[in-house]
């Protein structure tokens, strides 16, 4: 009897909890707007917003940031039939551009225009326009993303030489630009002109430590996007200082030995014909040394193995080790020259150590580093850097190249 009444009371309590309070935190995924990409520009007027403003839909703000939010899987009026005739899924997305001063305020302002609240769990890419990046520091711009509980630290950060919002509008018809960009960053095993992924976690590390760093640059034109070089950020201020072009990024990857695969193309010295080297492995070791009077110098040794993947000339024959040696030397020279011009740009033009030499000094000479770290960029200008490249052509692929018949 007592037991029964206990059960009854428990059941009533449970029902009470269920009906009155219910599911405090519950919200079905389809009733929320999942944003997967965000572009931030220096304020730029958006037509829709301007029109809304004219009707009085505005609030006091300096319009520091224009933020384009990319929402995925927007519901269509027809309801549940996302399939097209061909059975191919059409991914729908919607861009929403809002201006304001604080990222969070902008996101919440969106609730005045969207019926479904925004959730940031699936934010994949953040693209920052160059004008904004030159004005505001990375730490400030990313502060909200690093504080919010929804946003993962795996979101990738890009810089755009131009309007970042254009990147969010480009891409092949049925593709969501943010996913496209996310996929591009994964192509590092095909091309060495892509930097290692810069996730929020990585960028946060740089910003907190005050390190200089590079961010992948993405540009958009004619409705398509392309990864093109990198933006150079000054660690002290956290602001964008300039850009490296594709060639320089390629050299940066060679210098740091971070490549996962890609191609090095040169013209043969003699015939001016194409020779292409496909990278299989790549590594680099930097030795930092400090002389007695405090001069800092670096010896970089880049090594790579790979194959001769394309050969238009007749002067280089795969079967002939002397000519292979010659090809290797030509590739080595090309890499050294590239690295040389990159270092010139970093040391002379920008005066920013964006190639992690300071890090090597910290590891190898911690005491010296502690002394110089406060004016490291200036010391870096004076540092002498020597670079040795060694390329080994290990095989020549499927093609056989018989040696000419010896007499």
């Amino acid at each position: 009897m007592r037991r029964a009444s206990l059960l009854l009371r428990a059941a009533i309590a449970l029902l009470g909890v269920l009906s009155s309070a219910g599911c405090w935190s519950s919200g079905e995924i389809e009733t929320q707007s999942v944003y997967i990409g965000m572009a931030m520009d220096k304020s730029k007027s958006d037509e829709t917003e301007a029109a809304l403003d004219r009707k009085g839909g505005s609030y006091p703000k300096r319009d520091a940031i224009a933020s384009t939010i990319q929402i995925v899987a927007v519901q269509t009026a027809t309801g549940a039939s996302p399939k097209q005739a061909g059975g191919e899924k059409k991914q729908s997305f919607r861009n929403l551009t809002l201006t304001g001063d604080s990222v969070l305020e902008i996101l919440r302002e969106a609730s005045l225009r969207l019926d479904r609240p925004l959730i940031g769990h699936h934010l994949k890419v953040i693209v920052i326009g160059d004008r904004l990046a030159r004005d505001a520091s990375m730490g400030q711009l990313l502060d909200f993303f690093l504080t919010d509980n929804d946003i993962r630290m795996s979101s990738l950060v890009f810089v755009s030489n131009g309007h970042a919002s254009e990147v969010m509008e480009s891409g092949v018809k049925e593709e969501v630009p943010a996913f496209h960009l996310w996929g591009l960053a994964k192509n590092r095993y095909r091309n060495i002109k892509i930097l290692p992924s810069r996730s929020l976690a990585t960028v946060n590390g740089f910003v907190q430590a005050g390190d200089n760093f590079l961010l992948q640059n993405v540009i958009a034109a004619k409705g398509e996007m392309k990864l093109a070089g990198a933006g150079v950020f000054d660690g002290r201020s956290g602001k964008l200082r300039g850009f490296l072009n594709e060639e320089e990024v390629q050299s940066w990857v060679w210098l740091t030995g971070r490549g996962e695969g890609g191609v090095l193309k040169i013209d043969d010295e003699r015939t001016r014909q194409v020779l292409a080297y496909e990278i299989e492995t790549m590594s680099s070791r930097t030795k930092a040394s400090v002389s007695k009077d405090g001069d800092i110098s670096f010896d970089v040794r880049v090594e790579s193995r790979g194959r001769l993947a394309e050969n238009w000339t007749s002067s280089i024959r795969q079967s002939d080790s002397a000519s292979i040696k010659k090809a290797e030397r030509m590739f080595e020279e090309a890499v050294s020259n590239g690295i040389g011009s990159l270092l010139r740009k970093l040391q002379r033009d920008y005066g920013i150590d964006a190639a992690e030499f300071g890090n090597q000094l910290r590891i190898q000479h911690p005491k010296t580093w502690n002394k110089v770290k406060n004016d490291w960029n200036d010391r870096f200008r004076q540092a002498s850097i020597r670079c040795r490249v060694q390329i080994t052509i290990a095989d020549s692929g499927a093609k056989a190249d018989p040696a000419p018949n010896a007499p």
Partner: protein, 370 residues
């Protein structure tokens, strides 16, 4: 006094020690280890602190096994005298209560931040406490058995997560090793020691062991597991998030797991695994600490039923859980507990051990003459 079926085996004692140690610290340790070291060598501090914890744990085990079948609440009085022993017991009860409360509070903070935004924390806390109560009224046997399920799951999940995190690990970030000498490591020793609080449970557990002789072995095994979990976590977190990056995160271990996605595996994102593991660990830390506290209260009140105390203490623990007003207070609360741990269970057991041995010698000498 202790039913034979309630006796636990050495392996179970070890598992309980591990489960009590692994608690709220899993998510914050990389940051708290770095706060005083500021060098990538924090993991060495964690390792050394583990060694210190081993030392402290051995002291506790050696002391408790001198009094087989008795918990600290009983033998404390026999070593230092009735009144001081009573005071000591009250302190230990307070310590265990505070530990239990701190664990639950951390859990509710993290749960409402990452899992249940919007649900009132009192609901989260209440559910957690009820389930914990349900387990603890079963006594030490079921507690030990549940822990034996939880621990392998924890170790497996954390090992998996560590291996997965290696993909964003950069060796350069944890170099140089001892670049600034041993001094920063030593500075970090105290903060990291706090993460190893837990071996004090042996003061009570030894009484329940089938063979108290194995207490030292059990406590050593019980501390080695957390060392094997903590060191890789700190090592990888620093290597993936960098020293400054780790320092800037409230819950660095969650952020470590949230820093990568692995396409192709079903989950792609693994923080759910980490949070589940962590809640399980908090649950185990809470239940055993709470059980120890209730046991103490029942002994202090002259052997009232421990079950009754378990029910009666629940409101007290709830008030303690609600006491910190914000997350800074919570971490402060944790630091205070850690401080108490170092004083009460780092040094004191050795002192008591020496006292106890001396007393026995003295008694033995006195015996023949009388």
């Amino acid at each position: 006094m202790i039913q034979p079926e309630e006796r636990i085996r050495a392996a179970q004692a070890a598992v309980i020690v591990s489960n009590l140690i692994l608690g709220a610290g899993i998510l914050t340790l990389p940051r708290s280890a770095l706060e005083n070291t500021h060098t990538p060598d924090a993991w060495i501090a964690v390792l050394l602190a583990g060694a210190l914890a081993l030392l402290g744990g051995c002291g506790i085990a050696l002391l408790s096994r001198r009094y087989p079948g008795q918990t600290v609440y009983e033998f404390a009085g026999r070593i230092v005298g009735r009144a001081p022993g009573f005071v000591l017991s009250v302190l230990i009860v307070a310590y265990f209560l505070a530990t239990a409360a701190f664990q639950v509070r951390s859990m509710s903070e993290v749960s409402s931040f990452f899992l249940l935004e919007g649900t009132p924390t009192w609901v989260i806390t209440a559910i957690f406490l009820w389930v914990g109560l349900y387990l603890t009224v079963g006594g030490i046997g079921p507690i030990a058995r549940l822990f034996e399920i939880i621990l392998p799951a924890t170790v497996a999940f954390l090992a998996l997560l560590s291996v997965l995190s290696l993909r964003i690990f950069e060796p350069d970030r944890i170099r140089p090793v001892l670049g600034e000498g041993i001094a920063p490591v030593l500075r970090g020793l105290k903060a990291t020691s706090l993460a190893y609080s837990g071996s004090e449970i042996m003061l009570i557990l030894t009484a329940y062991m089938r063979s108290p002789k194995q207490a030292v072995k059990a406590v050593a095994a019980g501390i080695l597991v957390p060392i094997a979990i903590y060191v890789p976590i700190v090592f990888i977190a620093v290597g993936a998030l960098s020293v400054e990056g780790t320092l800037s995160r409230t819950w660095p271990t969650i952020d470590l797991i949230r820093s990568f996605e692995i396409g192709g595996l079903i989950f792609e994102r693994f923080e759910s695994l980490l949070l589940i593991t962590w809640i399980l660990q908090i649950f185990s830390s809470f239940t055993i600490a709470y059980y120890a506290a209730s046991l103490g209260v029942s002994r202090l009140l002259g052997g009232r039923s421990a079950r009754l105390c378990l029910y009666a203490l629940l409101p007290v623990v709830y008030l303690l859980i609600r006491a910190p007003r914000n997350i800074r207070d919570v971490f402060g609360f944790g630091d205070v507990i850690g401080e108490c741990y170092i004083w009460m269970f780092g040094a004191l057991p050795w002192a008591l051990l020496i006292l106890s041995v001396c007393k026995e010698k003295w008694n033995a000498k006195g015996q023949p003459s009388s």
